[in-house]
Symmetry: C2
Subunit: 224 residues, 2 copies
């Protein structure tokens, strides 16, 4: 990835780019690198400061992981967006560990956490940008939390099926029931039972190929 | 509450107070008011911008509320600390609704959200302070979320009992099982069953007066 392309990316991603002086811009560019991640790669595992990850193509999944290996998906990051929580040295008030995986083959640019932190100490605009980026995800996470804690499983599964098919532009979801359960922070048995119920009701069709949404309208009613 | 006292409070609570000019300070003081809340009063209900609430005495409880009336306690705010999430006009990226109750009789000072927002647009230090205050709670909330989603109920109840007794400086908790369940985001049946188990194990004694912690040591082992 050449310098011009990097500058183009940064000027779009960082609203404070235009106000940076030439030395800071040069440091930023030198502290950044392009990286390709294969589908399923773990990119960040909670401990270290991986840096600010800008997604060019593909998608990343941010999740919590329990000691027993249980996962809760918090949100996904798509092209044009960035992951700020992986830059723990910039966000000293964030003390919880998140994990980031590439969910598809993904092309990313990683800006060093140190370079960002150094800039944000001297440039309030950069600091405010980082804090607001992290805080805006707080709302996403609260939504997930409310969905898990307050909502009924049928409603949750209906939303999940509708969102997955909308995102992929197909009617068929090729995830296993195990994977769906993992993504929803639930147990395979629960998902399996609910899918059987949905299938009996004519909402979906479960086969070896995956789960096909049959009655989008009624699924949508269930999701409200 | 006189002006001198208010100035003393603000200069301790807001690290940027010393850098504010006299007009801004005067506006801040005029836009603030002292308020006493009786135990159990709802102070903030998610929709409007109540303002920044500084706690002088007592304690506030911040929680989520579902459509069905189920509650999840996110964290508590004690004297010397403040509630920033109730100032929704300052934090435009925070889009979820939280509820705030006074858990004891509480003396508070409320700073108008508009005044704070106006200042934070002109003074990056104030903006950064507000964002960091809100973001630091993100970590608290993630802790609660992990506790609820990943931990076993016995562990959670043990932690709850230990924390409640430590906080009140007594061995007896006078909450009902219904209230405990509500605070833990669980069902009364689950709490009741677990308390029966704890009681059989000689960890607690359940009577009409409340729940008495008998074996703090073993309860503490359970909480790890």
């Amino acid at each position: 990835m050449d310098k011009e392309e990097l500058i183009g990316l940064f000027s779009e991603a960082f609203p404070f780019w235009g106000k940076m002086n030439d030395i800071d811009k040069e440091t930023f560019i030198r502290s950044s690198y392009h990286k390709s991640f294969r589908k399923g790669t773990n990119i960040h595992d909670g401990n270290e400061c991986t840096g600010v990850i800008l997604v060019k193509s593909g998608s990343l999944r941010l999740y919590l992981l329990s000691d027993e290996g249980k996962e809760i998906t918090l949100y996904r990051i798509f092209p044009g967006d960035m992951c700020m929580l992986s830059a723990s040295c910039v966000l000293s008030t964030v003390t919880f560990d998140v994990f980031v995986d590439s969910e598809e083959n993904s092309e990313c640019v990683v800006v060093s956490g140190c370079a960002f932190e150094d800039l944000s100490r001297r440039m309030p605009e950069a600091k405010i940008f980082a804090l607001e980026a992290a805080l805006s995800r707080f709302s996403d996470v609260m939504w997930v939390m409310q969905q898990i804690l307050f909502m009924n499983m049928d409603k949750r599964l209906a939303i999940f099926l509708l969102e997955e098919t909308a995102q992929n532009g197909t009617d068929t979801i090729s995830l296993t029931q195990e994977q769906i359960a993992k993504y929803m922070g639930s147990a395979r048995e629960v998902v399996s039972r609910m899918l059987k119920y949905f299938s009996k009701e004519g909402l979906v069709e479960v086969s070896r190929k995956g789960i096909k949404v049959i009655d989008r309208k009624r699924l949508s009613v269930l999701s409200h």
